[in-house]
Symmetry: C2
Subunit: 435 residues, 2 copies
């Protein structure tokens, strides 16, 4: 049974350190291997990509077979339940709608005579989306990663995903990619895919940014290429924190905790409640529901290792616990969830009320399910439109406007010992200059 921790007297618990230890950054031993792979792909392009694909995916490909063909995409549709295709389309539309609402406009201001300052927004040119293969092949993640890039106006969106031993890609992945409007799909996975996207090969285009989840090799490779291109974040094991008061439904809460726990033995599901009764009911209900799960082995391990039920004095104390955990998913199963938002500082996605279950957000509501994990909601955000845009500052001064501030700029520049900076102002006000 999952442990109940009473924080009403003692304000600390090992659970916080235990959660932090799950970070994918704590696997430095993988890094050397990944750096070798990245360096080899950077130097040798397709050749290295194909070698690693043979080694890790047990598939012998050639450069001309790396890219998924139109025929393969058509074939995929014949293998996917048409009802699922319809759901994929609906989900895609919701994701598109939500991300369109995030659109920001280039702007400028003209407060002072002769002065224009502003910001210009430009979409990235080429974006790479990493899509895991095997049992972790999730078409929902394809939609979540691709749609914001498309809405932002990215010219080319490229997917890399590891092939199965039969050289094929999961058909639902191909359908989701096609419905999302992906431009190119390549059969390459792991660190070699990340390196190929960051540096380009003879076949695979160099991208400006790589997004999407992946295993520890993918995460470490993204970290290695960061700076050569941008990346979305370094993803780690995921978590849910449910805040519940006495109005919560313990059956719902237990089900939601388990929906996170089934992902991964390292996933963490935590209930923070002001009610001892709810704590005990959820504890009992977890046992009941666990038994019925298909993925009960994974879920049981996750709950045992990283699950907890924490009792707190007040909703304010609950918020403090949430902010310390900085969970990927937060559910507020309380009487007035909107009123509690003001105290929440760190959370990837916040689900309000008893019917806003996490799986709704994972699949359908529209907000992104690529979220900051392992406590990084302290500083990272959900994948969103601005991840696919960049900004340029705009500065325009007339001669008169520059004249008014020239002495200040010259003084500041000279105080820093940068005479050429001062000179660039001075030459503009010397005699005998062309206007």
């Amino acid at each position: 049974m999952v442990e109940i921790i009473d924080l009403r007297d003692n304000k600390n618990s090992d659970i916080f350190e235990s959660l932090a230890s799950r970070s994918q950054l704590e696997h430095g031993d993988v890094l050397d291997r990944v750096e070798d792979i990245v360096g080899n792909v950077r130097r040798n392009g397709d050749k290295a990509v194909l070698e690693y694909t043979a080694m890790f995916d047990k598939v012998e490909l050639t450069s001309d077979k790396l890219r998924v063909t139109e025929e393969e995409i058509k074939e995929a549709y014949t293998k996917v339940d048409p009802k699922l295709v319809e759901v994929i389309k609906k989900s895609r539309d919701n994701i598109r709608d939500f991300h369109e609402k995030q659109k920001e406009k280039s702007w400028f201001s003209t407060d002072t005579e002769g002065v224009i300052v502003g910001q210009m927004y430009t979409p990235l040119e080429v974006v790479g989306v990493y899509v895991p293969g095997g049992t972790a092949a999730y078409p929902s993640s394809v939609l979540m990663c691709v749609m914001p890039a498309k809405v932002a106006g990215v010219s080319k969106v490229v997917i890399t995903t590891p092939p199965g031993k039969d050289e094929k890609i999961n058909p639902a992945i191909l359908v989701a990619a096609n419905e999302a409007g992906v431009d190119e799909i390549y059969k390459v996975g792991g660190a070699q895919a990340i390196a190929a996207l960051a540096f380009g090969t003879e076949t695979i285009p160099k991208v400006d940014k790589i997004v999407g989840p992946g295993n520890i090799y993918v995460a470490m490779a993204k970290r290695t290429v960061y700076g050569y291109c941008d990346i979305d974040m370094i993803a780690g094991p995921s978590e849910i924190t449910v805040v519940a008061d006495e109005t919560a439904n313990p059956v719902f809460v237990a089900a939601d905790l388990l929906s996170q726990a089934e992902h991964d033995a390292l996933a963490s599901s935590i209930l923070v409640t002001t009610s001892e009764i709810i704590a005990k009911e959820v504890q009992r209900e977890l046992e009941v529901q666990l038994e019925a799960l298909e993925r009960k082995e994974i879920a049981r391990k996750s709950v045992a290792d990283y699950g907890a039920i924490i009792i707190v004095e007040s909703l304010k104390d609950a918020a403090a616990v949430v902010n310390r955990i900085a969970p990927e998913h937060l559910e507020l199963c309380i009487k007035d969830p909107f009123a509690a938002l003001g105290n929440i500082k760190n959370a990837g996605a916040i689900f309000l009320g008893n019917y806003s279950t996490e799986s709704l957000g994972d699949y359908f509501a529209g907000p992104n399910h690529v979220l900051p994990t392992s406590g990084t909601a302290r500083f990272f955000s959900p994948l969103n439109l601005s991840d696919f845009m960049k900004k340029s500052s705009i500065i325009s001064y007339s001669k008169d406007a520059l004249a008014k501030v020239k002495d200040d700029v010259i003084l500041f520049a000279e105080s820093e010992g940068l005479g050429a900076h001062a000179n660039a102002i001075r030459v503009r006000f010397q005699d005998n200059q062309r206007e």
Copy 2:
């Protein structure tokens, strides 16, 4: 004399590869040393910080002397020209104004009955600003890094900067920090400062994000701690590209190219022009102005190694060159600079017209001078308000709203083999549940 490259016939030049080779990422040999320092500070806190400070800065400090005192700040004011203090205040106000215009609001939408989705914006809690010491101590950078954090509403802004051998910090740095409203200043520099900010020590607080320029050790350390906290970007040598047509003033253009070149022998100053006459006049003018510069040795090396004058057929071709270089600073010294913006995709800050010189932006206009360098304007943005904010998704569905989509969510979840996700929806519509 700087080389003139005619791209009107041949569309390629070594200059592009030469620029890319300046990246700070190409110094892997430094990385091992930096990782040792970061690991040591992480494990040993203040003790390690003080050892490295003794080793690198030649100053023996104790934990209680790491933090700059109120008295030291007061003393700094007695050593700074009061006129400079006034300019610092004016510049600070301009930076504040510009970044206040970037404010984004939390929002939600209620398009569908019973459905609320949105995004909540929250400032980061604690931010660390790295400020280089020695000859590269720039109070203007203090303002540029600190003001956006303060405008965003960050609760605590902390500076780390290496002490001189006399244990002191450059007084202009202290004045700028104080005028910007910095909360704490610590006498520690290099990779040890970055590690202290990322993991916290007995004295120095753990931060959510580290921003600010630094040398190769600082850049590599930021890369190493990325993921434990956020970082702004990995800065490298800076560059300016000036696009000029026949209406440009060669004296102004040469002065602006040199204002970048004086920063650093690795800096790059490139003119792209449609006019052969301007090309030759700027080439000549560079020689004249170089002789008069205080930092002429640095500037001359920069211009010789990474400078170029490129002749192109049209302004559209000029934009293509700009987009390939993705310069930190771009000046459009052309007849109708605003009309050219549509073709510019990659540039950190864009200066429009003959009187919008780069040094105006470095010191005074308000937009940030912490800009993506070494071609990273392809995907990175100027430091800006959103660097100090994070987003949380908001999802609220009523029971009726969830009922309408429940079958879709269940189908999608089950297609991915995630039964507990489907179950979290199902339990909400089973009989005999509390509402």
